[in-house]
C-alpha cells in the first residue's frame, strides 16, 4: 500500500517560483483532507534548500529537497529518473505538476515509465465520494470540459494550466519539515545536454508569449509608418502584432497576426492602434488584461472592451506618447 500523500513538483528558476507552483500548493492543501493525505512539495535544483521554507507558507507540510549541480536547469533524463525513484519508493497517491514547459515534458514521460495515468492541462480538480481525484480539462478546442478519473494506477498524475486556479495569500506562520534526499545521478550517462538558455527578445518573441504588445491595423496607412509602432514597442519592450489587414498589406509577417485566423494573445497590456475591433480580431485578444485602443472613430467596436480608450489620430498621438515616455526615463 502506498501513502495517501499529494506531491507537488515545485518549480524555481531565476530566483523566483513559477506562479503555478504556488497555485498547486494551495490546491493540494484544499484537496488533502478529502484524500486524507499530506501535502509534500518536491524541490529539485542546484542550491535550493534556502528557499524550501517558502513552500510551507503556500501549503506544503513537508518539503523534499534534492540538490545536485546537474539540476541547475531542467533536464528530462535527470528529473524522470529521480522522480521515478522517489515515487516507486514512497508511492504517493497524487502527483501535481504545472502545465509548463517543464511539466509538459516530464509528466507524460514519467507516467509512461510508471505505467500510471496522466490527465494533462487540467483546469479544475475535485475529489469524488471514493476519494478519487476528478481531473477536468478542456477538449475540442475548449467547447467541452472532460472529467477523467484514474481508478487503479498510482500515482494519479495531473498537470494543471497556470493561472486558472489562482494562488492564495501565503500564511507566514506555517512551517514544514524540510528533508534533504540524496540521489545517485550520473550526468555522463545522459544522452542530452543543456547548452544554455536564450533570453526572450521582444523583437523576436512569439506574440502569443508576449506580456506587452503594440498592435496596428489599417489605420497605420503605410509600411513606412511602422517605425512609429516599433518605437513605441521599443520604449515599452513590447512585441509588435497586427490585425489581418496589417498582414494582408504586407506590413507585418503572418506570424504576427492576432485573431481567429492568427494567434490568440494573452498580454498584460495591449495598445491597439488603428484597429476597428472586428469580431475575428477580438477573438484573439480576449485573454488580454489591459486594453488600450487608439482610434479616430468613437464608434469603433474595440472601444467597448477598452480599459483606457484614446480617441485620437494615431499619427499625431503616438509621436507625443513616445516623446513623453522618453522624457520619463
Amino acid at each position: 500500500m502506498g501513502s495517501r500523500d499529494l506531491w507537488v513538483l515545485a518549480e524555481h528558476s531565476g530566483g523566483a517560483w513559477q506562479e503555478v507552483t504556488l497555485e498547486l500548493l494551495g490546491e493540494a492543501k484544499r484537496l488533502a483532507p478529502l484524500v486524507r493525505g499530506k501535502v509534500i512539495a518536491l524541490l529539485l535544483g542546484k542550491e535550493v534548500s534556502a528557499v524550501a521554507a517558502d513552500l510551507a507558507e503556500y501549503g506544503a507540510d513537508t518539503v523534499y529537497v534534492v540538490e545536485h549541480p546537474v539540476l541547475e536547469t531542467y533536464i528530462t533524463e535527470a528529473y524522470t529518473s529521480i522522480l521515478h525513484g522517489l515515487i516507486t519508493r514512497e508511492k504517493p497517491e497524487v502527483l501535481l505538476l504545472g502545465a509548463t514547459s517543464l511539466g509538459r515534458d516530464l509528466a507524460s514521460r514519467l507516467a509512461a515509465r510508471l505505467k500510471s495515468g496522466l490527465v494533462a492541462e487540467c483546469v479544475a480538480l475535485g475529489v469524488n465520494s471514493q476519494g478519487l481525484l476528478e481531473m477536468t480539462r478542456a477538449a475540442y478546442g475548449g467547447s467541452v470540459y472532460a472529467t477523467r478519473i484514474c481508478p487503479e494506477a498510482r500515482p494519479q498524475i495531473v498537470t494543471v494550466c497556470p493561472g486558472v486556479i489562482g494562488k492564495e495569500k501565503p500564511d507566514k506562520r506555517r512551517r514544514a519539515e524540510v528533508i534533504e534526499l540524496k540521489v545517485d545521478i550520473d550526468p555522463d550517462s545522459f544522452q542530452t545536454q543543456i547548452a544554455g538558455v536564450i533570453p526572450a527578445d521582444p523583437k523576436t518573441i512569439d506574440i502569443s508569449e508576449a506580456d506587452v504588445l503594440v498592435a496596428c491595423g489599417r489605420g497605420l496607412g503605410s509600411k513606412e509608418k511602422l517605425t512609429l509602432i516599433q518605437e513605441l514597442a521599443d520604449a515599452l519592450q513590447a512585441a509588435v502584432g497586427g490585425s489581418r489587414v496589417a498582414i494582408d498589406n504586407g506590413w507585418l509577417p503572418a506570424e504576427r497576426q492576432i485573431g481567429l485566423t492568427g494567434k490568440t494573445v494573452s498580454a498584460k497590456l495591449i495598445i491597439a492602434c488603428g484597429i476597428s475591433g472586428a469580431s475575428q480580431f477580438m477573438a484573439g485578444i480576449k485573454d488580454c488584461q489591459f486594453v488600450i485602443p487608439v482610434n479616430t472613430d468613437r464608434a469603433a467596436p474595440i472601444f467597448k472592451i477598452a480599459d483606457v480608450g484614446i480617441l485620437a489620430d494615431m499619427h499625431k498621438f503616438l509621436p507625443s506618447l513616445i516623446s513623453q515616455l522618453g522624457r520619463r526615463t
Binding site: T76, S108, Y140, C150, T192, P199, S323
Partner: protein
C-alpha cells in the same frame, strides 16, 4: 537518414464544436484536418531529407478516416505511410496511442522521430514524451529550431520555455523531437503529388499484426460538460463605476464590455495622461522580469 513522423487528425475547432451534452455525442458534420503541428513536423522531416537524403515515413494511429491526414502529408513529399487501428483505441488516451505507435515504430529503427508538440483539439501533447519513453529514446519537446548533423549522429535544438525564452539542448541520435508550429512554414503540395498520394496504398496494422493485446487505459472518462466560464482573475475594479457595473464585470469572464470613458484632447494632453497611467500600472519603465500588474 530515416525519419518517422507521427501524424494525427484532429477536429477543426473553428467554428467551435457543439457537443450534445445529453447524449455526449459529437455532431456528425465535423471537419477533420491534419493537426497543424504535425504538418510542421512533416515539413521539417522533408527539409532534413532534402538536405541529408534518406526516407520519411508517416505513421498514424486512429480510425480509417485518419488515412486522409496521411494522404495529405504524403502529398507534401513523404515516402510512405503506415496506419494503425483497432476499435479499442477509441477509448484510449495518449498513453495507449504511444504504446501502439512505439510498437510499430521500433522495428523501423529510425534515426529521428518527429511529432507535433501538441494537438489542436486536446492540446495536451501527451504522446511525444510517452512515445520516447516506450522507444527508449531521448526527447526534446516544444522545439522551434532544429539542426541535425547525421555524420556525427547529433542534434541541437531550441526548446520553448516560458515567456519567449529558449533552452538550447543537444542530443545524440536516435532521438525524438516534438516541434512547435513556429519551427517552419509548410509547403503547398504540388498537384502531381496530390494525385499520387490519393492512390498510394497505405498499410493498416492492427493489434494482431503488431503482436500485442490492446493496452489498458489507466484513466477513464466520467463526464462531459459545457465549459464553465473561465475563472479569470478580474482586473482591479474601477471605483468610479456603479456597483451594478462592477458586479457585472466580475460576473462576466472573457470579452466583458468595459464601461470606458473615451479620452479626448490634444495629442500632447492625451500622451501625458497615458504615460502617467502606464507608469502607475507598472508597464513603464519596462521591467523584463515582471512587467505589468503582477505583484500587487
Amino acid at each position: 537518414m530515416k525519419i518517422v513522423v507521427c501524424v494525427k487528425q484532429v477536429v477543426d475547432t473553428t467554428p467551435p464544436v457543439e457537443l450534445d451534452f445529453r447524449t455526449s455525442r459529437l455532431p456528425g458534420n465535423l471537419n477533420y484536418i491534419v493537426n497543424p503541428a504535425d504538418e510542421n513536423a512533416t515539413e521539417e522531416a522533408l527539409r532534413l531529407k532534402e538536405r541529408h537524403g534518406g526516407e520519411v515515413i508517416l505513421i498514424s494511429a486512429g480510425p480509417p478516416r485518419i488515412t486522409r491526414a496521411l494522404r495529405a502529408c504524403l502529398a507534401m513529399g513523404a515516402d510512405r505511410a503506415i496506419h494503425i487501428w483497432h476499435p479499442a483505441l477509441e477509448e484510449g488516451d495518449g498513453l495507449v496511442t504511444a504504446q501502439l505507435l512505439a510498437r510499430a515504430i521500433a522495428p523501423l529503427s529510425p534515426d529521428l522521430v518527429l511529432c507535433g508538440n501538441r494537438s489542436l483539439d486536446e492540446g495536451t501533447g501527451q504522446v511525444p514524451p510517452a512515445l520516447a519513453e516506450f522507444l527508449g529514446l531521448p526527447q526534446i519537446t516544444g522545439v522551434t529550431l532544429l539542426e541535425v548533423s547525421p555524420a556525427e549522429a547529433r542534434i541541437m535544438a531550441h526548446r520553448k520555455l516560458e515567456k519567449g525564452c529558449r533552452q538550447v539542448v543537444k542530443s545524440g541520435l536516435p532521438a525524438l523531437v516534438s516541434v512547435d508550429t513556429s519551427i517552419n512554414r509548410c509547403r503547398y503540395p504540388a498537384f502531381r503529388s496530390v494525385r499520387w498520394a490519393r492512390k498510394e496504398p497505405i498499410t493498416t496494422l492492427d493489434y494482431e499484426a503488431l503482436g500485442i493485446e490492446p493496452p489498458d487505459c489507466p484513466t477513464h472518462l466520467v463526464k462531459l460538460a459545457p465549459p464553465r466560464p473561465r475563472p479569470k482573475k478580474t482586473l482591479t475594479m474601477d471605483s468610479s463605476l456603479s456597483p451594478e457595473e462592477r458586479v457585472r464585470q466580475l460576473m462576466s469572464g472573457g470579452l466583458a464590455e468595459k464601461k470606458t470613458t473615451l479620452w479626448e484632447g490634444t495629442p500632447e494632453d492625451l500622451a501625458t495622461r497615458l504615460a502617467r497611467v502606464l507608469t502607475q500600472e507598472h508597464f513603464f519603465p519596462p521591467n523584463a522580469d515582471n512587467p505589468g500588474r503582477d505583484g500587487h
